[in-house]
Structures are given as structure tokens and as C-alpha cells.
Amino acid sequence: MGAAGDFLAVPDGRTGRTLRLRPPETVMRLARLGAFHQTRLSFLRATLRHVAAAGYRFGYDRWDIGDDGVGTAVYAARGPERTYSLVCFAHDLDPAMRTDRVIAEAWDATYTLYDGIPDDGEIERLRANTPKQEAGRYRHTDLILSRTNKSARLFDHVVDCLAAGRQPAAARLDDVGYVMRTTAVYGNGKFGIADRHRYAGRAGFGGPFRLEMLTVWMIRQFVADLVDHAARAGGGAGAVPLDRALRRRLGIGNSTGLGLGPFIVNHPALFARWVECRELALGRVCAQESAPAANWSAFRRWIARARADVATWTVPDPLQAEKVDRLADDLDRLDAFSAGLDPASGAPWAEIRDWAAENLSLEGQELTVSLLIEPHGDLVDDLADRMALAETEMPPAGLSGNTGDLRGRIEDGFGWALAPDYAVADAQARFWYVSANKLEPRLGERWEEAGADLELPLATGRDIAACHADLCEAAQDEQLADFLLRRPEHRHTVRRLCDPELGPYGQIRDNLVGADLLPLNLLRCKLAFFGATHFDPKSDRWLRINMFCHAPYPDELDSLPPDDWILPRRDA
């Protein structure tokens, strides 16, 4: 991989071409990462494509919910090789106990995605644990753990409408976007559930967070069925089920706080892979000399769909509202600019990308990336299966090189880390820590609060600079192994710098403990890779999102395409 002008030149095995990718110094800035939008490669979209292509059949094996809305349901996703069961427990939650905080102790509904078909004994075991969530214990047969709370704005309203025999107003549904929200979706071994390596080798589920996304999608089916059930229980024969088209306007909401933030910093090689695949997809699209007519007209339609969708993206947060306004303007300009291009010559996709970089906001540029990728499923969808890393039990043994080598690499490639003057208070005004109260990552003020001595290793730039300073003090021919024997406090930094999997997009090139850090960007970026939409910031450190809004339900997969719902047609 090498630099080619302002681009990274990368050989692409699939197309046999050398692609020109946006360079890490452009892409890996936190403000840009925090402007990412979902793409075809996003995890929930890739999951739906897989279950549709593999012919999964969905249905419930058990519906034991009383008129009071309390009980148990089991949904099955039957695939060609395996069945996954969502075991759902619906509860009678005192509204006073309903909180989205991850530290809550009770929820409206709780779930376990089970590997296979649970017998009665297994359901009883889960009944004793799943409702307790983090306080329960789980086994390797339990794949994913989650819970949802009702939207106080919408759940009862929808049920009341249906019980009275009428449909709720579409505008009212759009205003909230969901009737239930998840407050956590746990995978990969938490509280004793299955380690990821148990299922990472299964066809279709090797990609990141696929089973988590399957779980949320199946929860959405349960929630829709629960709404109809509650309406029937309240309205009797006069009740009506929620209209299918209205039902699709409802996704599953999610509240996400700082707990999500450290992941993409703590898993730099994995995150680098996500970003690289996204940039590869853009690179493949932009390497085409011309645009086939069908793709070009699809692109133009996607712009129209995006314009309509952004018009519905209303947020109270003034900063985000301003960005959304600018984005709407950007899309108008993108529409006008692309209308004037000749798709038959002159590498039109690359021209759009480069024009956007010069003329649009970060939100506009990154939504343009999504739109450029969108009509090119045949060209890019294989990348969705390359976004995971094979897990290694132990890092490869052997630290080759000496201190002079590493010092040179830092000076050549990590100027962003060396640039801040960390002696200035603002340069490390914050520190990340695990809260004793919540057992969740939090962000503290270093000069005002105690606990900075226990900070999490997320100050990557500062730590690289500290390592560099000590490397400068060392004899330049000292072996790295000897350096770390003397200075083991730099081990996490040296490991990060020497990780062979890291790739060009391996570091977020910003100070993650500076006074000007906007932690929301870390969360937004990860959620965009999930495939979330309608980001709704509630502060600089938590936000609401929607997942699967407008997607088909599992019980509609036979009749609707699995991946033509994002940025929905507003005439639908």
C-alpha cells in the first residue's frame, strides 16, 4: 500500500485494479467519523441480506402472553443449518422503574437469543435469569442478551388506537419512530453467554455484530406482535391489527451512552477493517470510468430518497439540527451537480466524490459516500463479509526492531499524536474510567475529579507521545524487547503500534482526552456501522437512534426485498 497523490493506492484482489482510497489523514478524524452514515455494508443490512439469501424461515414456537401483557414467547429463525430462538419475557413494569439507563434493574421485556430450540427446562432456566439481565448468569448456549422498554410517548397510544378499532396517525408514528427501545444488546461472552468464536465461523454470521442485529430484528417482530396482542386484549372483537405499512414505519429505538465509545478505540485493528472496507467500497465505485445507465438512474433516485428522508430528520439538539439543515442543502446541491454530469464518461463517481469533498459539509460528504456506494451492491457487498478479524488467542510472539526504528515510525506516521503539547491542561483535560457506581465507561475531568490514576488506556495520542519521548532517551539500537523490559508502562502503546493487523486506518487521529473532545462522535460512528439512522443527540455523550425503521419484518421476508428500505420511498 502506498501514497498516490492525495490518495492511498491499494491493490484490490476482487477487481484486480489498484484503487485510490481516501487517505487515513482525511478519514480518521473524529469529526468526520462522527458524520458517518449507514451504508450497504452496515451490519444490520448485511444481516438481513444474509437471512433472506439463506432462506431463513421465521415464526413463533410459543406465545404464552396473558391479557395483562405478561408472559413468554419464543420466536424461531430456522436457517439451512441452524435454528436460532429468541426467548422473550414480557413483564409488568412499574412506570416509575422505567429508565433507559444501562444500570436499570427492571424492563418491560427481556430477551435471550438461544442457540437452537430451547426445551421447557431451558426456558425455565432463562426465566430465572434473563429478566435479571446483568445480574443473571448464562451459558454458552445463550448467544445474545437484550431488553426493551416501552416508549411512553407511543406504546400505549398505538395500543389504544388499535383497541378502539382505528389505525394510529402515520405522523405520530414517524415522530417517535418506535414503540420500544433497547437499552443494551450484549454479546461475546458477557455474563457467561457464548463467546463470539463459537459462532464466528458459521456462514453468514462471521461478520461483526450479525447475531446482535438478528436479535434486534426479531425483537422488533415480537414488539409488533405484542402491540397487536395488547390491542386485542383491550378492545376485544373491535380491535384491529396495526396496518402493515404503518407497522414498517416503526423500528427499534436505542439509547446509547458512553459505554459504546471505547470499543472502537480498544479494538483498533477491527475498527480499521471496518473503515478500510467502507473506503474500499467507495474506491471500487470511483474507479469506474463511466456509470452504467441503470446505476446512474438508481443513484439519482437514491439522492431523492435521501432528500426526503433528511426532511424527516428533526432533532431538538441545536448543533445537530444545524448540521441536518446544512445536510439538506448539501443534498440539493448534490442533486443539481450530478444532474449536470455525463455518466458515460469522465469517471463520474470519482468526480462526485471529489466535488463533495470540496463543496459539502462533513455530513454531506459522508452521506454522499453512502449514496455512491448504494447502487453498487454487486460491486461491494462481498466486503461486508470481510469486516471481521479472526480472533487470535495470543498476539504473535516476537517484537522485532529496535528503539530507533519505532521512534522513526512514530515521527513519520504519528505526527498527529506528537503535535499537541500535553503539558497544557486542556490537552488532557479528560480521562476515561470505569465507574464504580455503574461499571460502565465514563468520562471525567482530570483536573477537577479524582481517579485519573485509574484511567482507561484510551489516550492513544498522549501515550504515543510519552512512548516517543522515552524512545528518544533510549540508545537507538536498543532492542524493543529490552526497552519494554525497562519501561513496561509503554507496552500497550508498543503493542498497538506494532500490531500487524492494524492497517492504514488503524488510529483515530485525534486527541481522545482533550478539552475539545466530542465523545458523541465515537458513538455515532459505531452506530453508523451498525446501520442505525436518525441520530438524535441528547447531550455531548448520549444519543437516541432507530434501527430497522422501514425494514420488512421477519414475517414479510417472503414478500418484500430485504434491502430496499433504508431511506424509504416516501410515496410508499
Binding site: 488467542e393 495470543m394 504473535p396 465507574s435 464504580a436 475529579e449 488506556p457 529490552d482 508502562e489 455523550r541
Partner: protein
């Protein structure tokens, strides 16, 4: 003995990492401890228990003196007792270079606490060098064979060993190896008392939230969360 706690490997790794950090080890070293504990427990070896024992000695301010000092065919620690985890790290870092046991030689580590913790790193060296290693922890214990990703059942002999007078490492040679310990399939049973002790060490990495921090929180207490 109380019923064991069924754990996932990720949970074991996370618990071990936090406990090692809670004991005062730097994050990078704690991360190695977590990986080593996971590697061992995945093969039914009591990695968490060994780590818990090792952390007693590594909690002291002068823990760095428990690193072996490389040089010649016999390595010692300044403290007089090499820590098994630190021995493993030190050896693995040198896998690319010349180790005394390459080419028919041997390395003797003098007085090693919790030698079990070095095994995952030796398996990494075996992989990096395409070699099979033999480890002896004294005349009373059988020879342990180590290959990439695997260790022989004889490793059980050092499972609870808190101190080996000497650990000898050399290449296995041409002879056949005893069977490997199989990798566990499913949840890993962990001694609840050990887990609880590590929990207490891990708790030292947690920071009590200040009132200001709680107000800012992950969300902000002034915001309605239930709409």
C-alpha cells in the same frame, strides 16, 4: 467446594485483565495476563487461580524486579523469584531473536513463581519458531510438551505450583509427545472463590463517580429518559 461458576472465555480474559490492572500492573502487561489466563482456562488449566496467586507478589511497588534478567543460559530475577507471567512475556518478546534453547541448548529460569503462566507464551514462541518445546519444572514433575496452540496433559503437574526451584526450557527433539490437553467446548467452570478474589482486585480499577460526573453521566440527569 462450592459449585463452580460457568464462565465464558471473554469473561475470564476481561476479569483477569482488570484484576491484573487492579493489582497495579500497567495496562499492556495486564492485557497479556488476561490473554494468558484465557489461553489456559480454554484448556481446562487453572489460569485464573495461578494469576490470582501471582498477583499477590506482583502487587508490590517493586514488581518490576520479578522480571527475569536475560543473559546466558540461566536467568534470574533481581527479586530472587521470577514471576511466571513476566517470564512468559520476556521470552515471547524475544521469539524473533536468539533464545538460549534454540539449536539444542537450554534455558534455566531460576526460582519461578506460578510457572503455569509462562506456558501460553511458550506456545506462542513454538508457533513463531515452528518448534516444539519441552519444559521441566523439577525432577518430581513430568516433562511438559508445548506446540503451537497446545500443551500436553502433563502440564497439569504444574497447575497449582506456586514456586518451581528451576524451570528448564529446551526443544523437544524428535521423540513423540504425550497427548495434548483438549480445548474445552462450552462454558468454563471457575472456582467461585477465585473469581471473587479477582473481582476484588478488579474493583480497584473502578472510580467512584463525583456528583458532577453523575450529573453529566452518560446521559445527564436533567434529561427525561422514558419518553
Amino acid at each position: 467446594m462450592p459449585e463452580p461458576l460457568p464462565c465464558s472465555l471473554n469473561e475470564i480474559q476481561s476479569q483477569a485483565t482488570k484484576a491484573a490492572r487492579g493489582a497495579g500492573l500497567p495496562w499492556g502487561v495486564a492485557d497479556e495476563a488476561g490473554r494468558a489466563a484465557r489461553w489456559l482456562e480454554a484448556r481446562g488449566l487453572a489460569g485464573l487461580s495461578a494469576l490470582d496467586g501471582a498477583l499477590d507478589g506482583l502487587s508490590a511497588p517493586d514488581w518490576r524486579r520479578c522480571f527475569p534478567v536475560p543473559g546466558g543460559g540461566a536467568w534470574r530475577a533481581e527479586s530472587g523469584e521470577i514471576d511466571g507471567l513476566l517470564a512468559g512475556i520476556t521470552l515471547a518478546d524475544r521469539a524473533d531473536g536468539s533464545l538460549p534453547f534454540a539449536g539444542g541448548g537450554a534455558l534455566v529460569l531460576d526460582r519461578v513463581r506460578w510457572p503455569l503462566l509462562a506456558v501460553p507464551f511458550l506456545a506462542g514462541i513454538a508457533q513463531a519458531r515452528g518448534a516444539r518445546l519441552a519444559v521441566s519444572a523439577g525432577p518430581q514433575t513430568p516433562r511438559i510438551g508445548i506446540r503451537p496452540h497446545a500443551v500436553t496433559v502433563s502440564c497439569r503437574a504444574i497447575e497449582g505450583m506456586a514456586l518451581a526451584a528451576a524451570v528448564r526450557i529446551e526443544e523437544w527433539g524428535d521423540g513423540g509427545m504425550p497427548p495434548d490437553l483438549p480445548r474445552l467446548d462450552g462454558s468454563v467452570p471457575i472456582d467461585k472463590e477465585v473469581y471473587a478474589r479477582l473481582d476484588r482486585r478488579a474493583a480497584r480499577t473502578y472510580v467512584p463517580e463525583s456528583a458532577e460526573s453523575q450529573a453529566r453521566g452518560a446521559g445527564g440527569s436533567d434529561l427525561i429518559e422514558t419518553d
